[in-house]
Amino acid sequence: MPSLGLPIYGQKTALETRRWKSLDELEARTAAEPGEFPEGAAETPEGLSRRGFLQVLGASVALAGLQACKPPREKLVPYVRAPAAVTPSVPVAYATAASEEGYAVGLVVQAHEGRPVKIEGNRLHPASLGGSDAIRQALVLELYDPARLRGFTREGRALAWSALLQEIAALGREHDKDGGTRLRFLVAPTSSPTLGDLRRRVLERFPRARFDTWSATGEGAQRAGAAIAFGRPLDATYDVAKADVILSLDSDFLAVEGEHLRHAREFASRREGDRMNRLYVAEPRFSVTGGMADHRLRMRGLEVAAFARAVAAELAGAGLAGLGPLGAHGEGERVKVARAIAKDLAGARGRSLVLAGARQPPAVHALAAAMNEALGNVGTTVHWRAPVLLDPRAGADSLRELAGELAAGKIDTLVVTAWNALHTAPADLELRKAFGKVKNSMVLALREDETVRAASWRLAASHPLESWGDLRSRDGTVSIVQPLITPLYESATEIDLLAAFVGEGDRGAWRLVREGWRARSGAPPAPLPLAGAAAAANPVDTNRPRRPDPYDRTWDEWLAAGVLTESAGKPEQVAADLGAVGDALGKLPVPAGGIELGFAPDYKIWDGRLLENAWLQELPDPVTKLTWENAAHLSPATAKRLGLASGDLVELARGGRAVVAPVLIVPGHADDAVTVALGYGQQVAGPVGKGVGFDGYALRTSDAPWFAGGAELRKTGKRTDLAVTQGHFSMEGRAIALALDHEELGRAKAELDEHRGEAPTILEPVDYSDRTYKWGMAIDLSRCIGCGACTAACQAENNIPVVGKEQVLRSREMHWIRVDRYFEGPAEDPKSVTQPLACVHCEMAPCEYVCPVNATVHSDEGLNEMVYNRCVGTRYCSNNCPYKVRRFNFFDYHGDVAPTLQMLMNPDVTVRARGVMEKCTYCTQRIQRARIDARVGGKKIGPDEVVPACAQACPAEAITFGNLNDPRSRVSRKHGDARRYDLLHELGTRPRTAYLVKLRNPNPELA
């Protein structure tokens, strides 16, 4: 079969058919041998032998004195039967998908000897285009979480899967009697066709049962808005690349909402060159998208609707008369702004885009839809499609109904597969109380949480990387979810569980998915096995010949690509009902006075489901740089008015509910508003999430899911230390992260020349121009959205430890690449620049000449090499590093790691010992792999072949890497760009990482 050209370490790997075939077989075995997974490698995986490293050190303490002091000889453990897909020491990549609010995000997962280690985006998938984000990067850590729920219990009794099936069958027979009247399912939103089939079949068997879909986050408001405007719920997909002018009405579309990875890539593609787009953002809190705005208009969340109407009114004045009835002129300064925006939008008909945020009420979405239609954007920048979600109308209402039934004792069996409903449910539904009244509460979950603990049946869920399944993206493209590893613990997927309710629990998700798609694709049924005594006697023996099945090939192609080609749906023709939109707008409540309380999904732990993920906990929030907790965000002026400082603990109260929260002052936040990230403060948490943050859901009610007036902040007089990784957000007037208006770039050459080019030196710089490779990086600040995907990707690729809140408070975080955020201008309403900063590989590296033991020296290709095993840990290099990008192992961070977490280690990267300095290596392991592969094949490494983890993850393609001696490479072009400058050029360090000035494209009318 043809190579699909998916990149792994810059090497072209043909995803051969047999790779997943062996996984199929593994899956087939799973039922028989639950909990067992194949021996990792033909040789002991490197990660497992890391302890040997410490032993070696110990031995060198003893001066290698005696034979007896040497570590015992290692064992070499080969396979008994070598799987065809695995070559020990060569990683293989598989395409799969993960769910985000029920939609697919295509992934390519790299596995070493059967251990998934690194996740990348799938270039072929519309929701990724090859980019990924921190949450997707961190999924692999979730897989290996030693605190995951294991096995199945009913009222404390451990059950094997087969026993569980019997008990579910018995339960089903009970409910058969009344057609499932007293049976309910509380599920998460999903687009999985297989789950759709199963739900249908469950409802066929139990016609009076019901599936209620609940997600605390998600984009229900958009579908509801479409329902207002077009009479039916529709999903919008945006072609951001085609938009010249974008108005975001509180939509964080670059980092959170919709197909944000694709949005970011398309948006970034319009942030350089002459066709720059222009972004207006109206929002209450400073978001990632807000940081990219050319004009950011801070306003309280409930004021956004009025502002949208003001823009609509001005649009009507600018020739889109149809919007007239929907508009309402604003007041004061906003009029001018709205007029300028409207003029800009109207001047870009068919090339503009209005987005409403998921936190805005449906009416605002309906208005945005109407504006897009009036601007002629439908069909160019906006596409409407029938939703692929199984239950597009789901929302708090169905949960309320369910809560009522539960409270009334009308339900005997509640099957919960939605994540931690007791934690996330609106506080006014009192679901916690009602939940206890159910006789059989059955919860399928990845880890123990509040809902699991309250349940009588506790079922461990398989991780997505252990599961078979299927998902669709917003445009309908189907992805098969395939496992990378057999489940580490006895667990089941949602497919398995629902299948159990229709008596097919023993078929296994693989068959259900595969055979379901055979039917859907119209392939002929599977041929019967060859007749004969041998085949009958040994059905598992896969070496026996089988009849050819043409579907095998189709299926394998789907798996290899990660998408079912041409499975996308067609956009629908729509016509907005402006009257309905107007009515809905008219019913919007008038924003109340006082302080507005806003909620937001967390950039890292989402709705809270990733609370136990230490990588994400330690990842600095993209905007505030806060780690390991959430806080009540306030604007500087509001904090001043209330006499509060960052770190003050306040009692945050609304409508008789209160929590204690630390205050964090965020520049650019709307005044008289407080924003709280959801998901923290969970009552039941594992070792990572225990006691982390406060529970925002406790204040959230179903009538005001995102914004509510009348919040109160009361001082408690106590303080806490907030673990913020960046204490200083001002550049202090220094030229660090440079930003210019697009117009200014031409005039700024002389100014920029001061920050690039040759610097005077008495040392003759080494000439690298005659080397085959001269590695270099370029970071385009104009593209960078500051999301932190690079940080997480680097953490996963390079075995970077997590240090915990205490150590972050001591400024000991270990991230090799950090994303600095600087605010410029007034603290109340600043502009922002984000700057990813890792080792810049100075040619005249200050760190090198101070190292007493030559542990950090220069390679012939100009890499600043950090040799861990030579390092004695003077930390002198860090002192002399002007960029402060070196990280020190203050403790033995890897000393006592759970066995599953050892499986997470990338065997191509040394696990660093205590007392050793470390830093970005430009992913040298990928360079070396590419080099060896190229040289074995007698070739040269291609100009853009080596892609470091950060560049690979970056959804905005802000980071480019390659050979500077090859003029064809992208990085060479970036280094020659007019916007290129060197960070701290005046020090003469000759960094190999060049930065490109961030460009802004402000509206001259608003200057």
């Binding site: 021996e39 033909a42 040789e43 490197e46 032998s49 890391r50 040997g52 490293f53 070696v56 001066l63 290698a64 004195g65 034979q67 040497k70 000889r73 290692e74 064992k75 070499l76 453990v77 080969p78 396979y79 008994v80 039967r81 070598a82 070559t87 020990p88 020491s89 060569v90 020296v857 220069h858 390679s859 012939d860 290709e861 890499l863 090499e865 040799v867 861990y868 095993n869 030579r870 191509d908 990267v909 040394t910 696990v911 290596t921 040298t924 392991q925 360079i927 070396q928 060896i932 040289r935 074995v936 007698g938």
Partner: protein
């Protein structure tokens, strides 16, 4: 009348000083020597294995090429330790009742791997890649020695960093034609260094000594 110290004290005192100085110097010297001799590097130790696998027999008598078992040596970093399956390719037919192979058969039927004892070990922070060496003309025998003469595998090279560097700085005397890469007995005709030079050009041999070549 007596002095505080006897006349012999002078000699004793000098002897003590000499012993202390020699002891200090000797300790340092001995450690440095130890790091270079087989006892320190782990050479010359025949390592017992769970199955008495005799390379002599398989290589010399049966003329089996190294790559028959070590399948990935020219493709991957790891040379590959053969799976039980591979042993049984032959031993399901020959010696299939030998008690020496009990463990191999047990491994096959119980699906439990044979745990071989590692002989050649470089530290975890050293990333050795077999493929690049084998494809650039460094024969098996250069590092592993005359495996065909070993009843039990032992380490013949010191495997110290200095030893690696010696070859990386001057590979020519260790190169051989790719056709002879697994040969245990190949001898060059004529000057090996001259041949090495020629082969280095032919195979584009460019060993590197920058740290990241081996340490990552």
């Amino acid at each position: 009348m007596s002095a505080l110290f006897s006349p012999r004290s002078n000699g004793i005192f000098r002897l003590v000083i000499a012993i202390v100085l020699a002891g200090a110097a000797g300790t340092v010297g001995a450690l440095m020597v130890f790091a270079r001799i087989p006892a320190g590097t782990g050479q010359q130790q025949q390592v017992g294995q769970p199955v008495q696998f005799d390379h002599r027999h398989h290589v010399q008598d049966d003329l089996i090429d190294c790559r028959y078992c070590h399948t990935t040596v020219d493709k991957a970093a790891s040379a590959g330790i053969p799976p039980t399956e591979l042993c049984l390719n032959c031993h399901s037919q020959v010696w299939n009742k030998s008690p020496l192979l009990d463990l191999v058969r047990a491994s096959w039927f119980s699906n439990r791997p044979i745990e071989w004892v590692r002989v050649h070990r470089v530290p975890d922070f050293v990333y050795f890649n077999h493929a690049i060496h084998v494809n650039k003309g460094v024969g098996c025998v250069e590092c592993h020695g005359r495996v065909d003469l070993m009843p039990a595998i032992e380490q013949v090279a010191p495997l110290t960093m200095g030893w690696c560097l010696d070859c990386h700085r001057d590979p020519n005397p260790r190169l051989r034609p790719l056709e002879e890469i697994t040969s245990m007995t190949w001898e060059p005709e004529g000057d090996r260094v001259a041949l090495g030079k020629e082969l280095a050009k032919k195979y584009d041999v460019k060993p590197r000594t920058s740290c990241y070549t081996c340490h990552r």
